[in-house]
Amino acid sequence: MNSSSFKHLPWIAIGTIGLATLAVVATERGEPVNALWVVVASVSTYLIAYRYYSLFIANRVMRLDPDRPTPAVRRNDGLDYVPTNRYVLFGHHFAAIAGAGPLVGPVLAAQMGYLPGMLWILAGVVLAGAVQDFMVLFVSMRRDGRSLGELVRAELGVVPGVIALFGTFMIMVIILAVLALIVVKALAESPWGTFTVAATIPIAIFMGVYMRYVRPGAIGEVSVIGFVLLMLAILGGQWVAADPAWAHAFTFTGTQLCWLLIGYGFIASILPVWLLLAPRDYLSTFLKIGTILGLAIGIVFVAPQLEMPAVTKFIDGTGPVWSGSLFPFLFITIACGAVSGFHSLISSGTTPKLIATETDARFIGYGGMLMESFVAIMALVAASVIHPGVYFTMNSPAAIVGTTPETAAAAVTQMGFPVTAEEIAQTAQDVGETTIISRVGGAPTLAVGMAHIFAAALGGKAMMAFWYHFAILFEALFILTAVDAGTRAGRFMLQDLLGVFVPAMKKTESWASNIIATGLCVAAWGYFLYQGVTDPLGGVNTLWPLFGISNQMLAAVALILCTVVIFRMKRQQYAWVTIVPTIWLVACTLTAGLQKIFHTDPRIGFLAHAQRFQAAVAEGRVLAPARDMAQMHQVIVNDYVDAALAGVFVFVVVAIIFFGIRSCLEAYRSQSWTAREIGGPAVQAAAQ
């Protein structure tokens, strides 16, 4: 054995440990598995994938060149383009890609047991998600950090470019609606949570004013002050919840919260950024990173047992949390954490403009996504450490489990997950809430799981209610920042799009144009939010699959772009690196999209659901959730809108596949390199 073989020995050891732990996790039946097995299996997988597969992609597929100047070097302006230390940039990139997606998806997927979700997260990230992030980062880095829409237009053509832009806007709308829905579901009928989250608005405004007039530029100082105020707001929430008059003032129904959020989104996105958005961004970003680190330390330190079975009977698609069989819906439910198309927007955003050396892209692109995947694994662990009976009590729609501990205990025990009414009432009391029944949307479940882990590490049961509301605050805070920033970004997108037809709309300094575009954007996501909030099946059932489909659709678009670039670089013998995940994602999105439209089960197919309501209307009957004929018609309209939206997503995928294959063939037939890179060897030669 020569010395070059020796360097593989530690990696063989890591691989062996990974396989052994994975075997334990996968085959253990009956006995609860410790979460550490899951952590070790995941980390080993990441290390091996990073060491070998990402290096293969960097050297063989992309041929990263450390001597080739990056956009940050060529266009250095100290502002947008700055060569940045790779560790510093890693933090920036990770903070931008990590959000609610990797936290919520795995929690919802836990209804099938932890094993299917875990295997998909690991396989998905290694072969699809991290590849996508890394490849898009590479493609954008070689083109001056251009955005995904511009890249598709340049490499595939103008028409696919417009289709991709339109698809991106629709994704924004669905993401904002589903994120807002999660907040509504977490805060409905919870005065403690509502007070704490509402308090973040004056806190952020105070920070904004402080930074504007008292201590300009003091980001660290103002963030520390804000953090202290946030913790006080959590304690204040407890006091509010205990006082009957104040508790009443901060108790809202889902519908009321829905309107409050729509109003908030509208106002927040037209206020100056320094006043509300930027300071809220500091709080949410730092709290997010801190909590994720805390959760990782907590899981290792507490080493909790996984109470959820490895696989539940709901892999047949009859689960109460969301409907549809394992294929394709598991792969739609867990998007972020395995593969997330939204990352392609981040990887073609600010990050490529800050890379100092081409070879850093591997650590930032591939490595950053592995880290996000680990967040998803932690969320899966957090959802699996709670008692399965409590999990299903929290995540089943009220239409199935009713609203009292007795009905819920009976319904969930009937499902095969024994739980008593006392356990349900006790859990609600432990976390300082009046009820935990049917708190769908993932966030409350994750908060209970996190409170479980944090309380075991720090403070015990007495601190459980604090940690629960801390976790709710943590999620709500960055979701609200995303709603705010997303509405603003959507408004600019819309002004750009509408400006083509009405030039006056393009004026971003015109109040009329701003208010119209913001109103349209808020109305678009508000429509889906309202529909979700009033849905008796909890809304997650409708909106989360639509979100998953749109997100995986964007991932497929990004991977098709990367495939075209590989062909244009005349590296087509390695095109399988992006073609294999593309085929998988296309299979998932098309199957799921078509099933959401045409499936004969009204719980899955929108058209079947509409037909059931139409039949009832014809007989003059009113079906829940509708209370009168007007609402019956509204449900039917919603179903057709949802079906049309799923149809749009299917169309976008099919169209981009067509244009992608066309471009690949064109590049294949060409004798030479056809990729449209900027700043390649030709530029360097000319400069000399």
Binding site: V88, G217, I219, L277, D281, A485, A489
Partner: protein, 70 residues
């Protein structure tokens, strides 16, 4: 001892740089150095101006970033 202290302080500086970049503010020192190198005739923005410039850029448009994942 000094070497260890130096490593700790450079690690902390790196941490602070990363925290600032997470909210869209790159290294001010790099900006000042760049201005001195390429535009010595112009006065660079002060640090507070630099922060609000970056803040406006982060949320100021389609390409302004501020986008974050779901």
């Amino acid at each position: 001892m000094n070497a260890a202290a130096g490593r700790v302080s450079s690690f902390l500086a790196c941490l602070c740089d990363s925290a600032r970049l997470m909210v869209g503010v790159p290294r001010y020192e790099d900006y000042v150095a760049h201005m001195a190198r390429t535009h010595p005739e112009q006065a660079p923005m002060t640090y507070p101006e630099f922060v609000s410039n970056r803040q406006a850029a982060r949320f100021g448009g389609v390409k302004g970033g501020g986008l974050r994942c779901c």
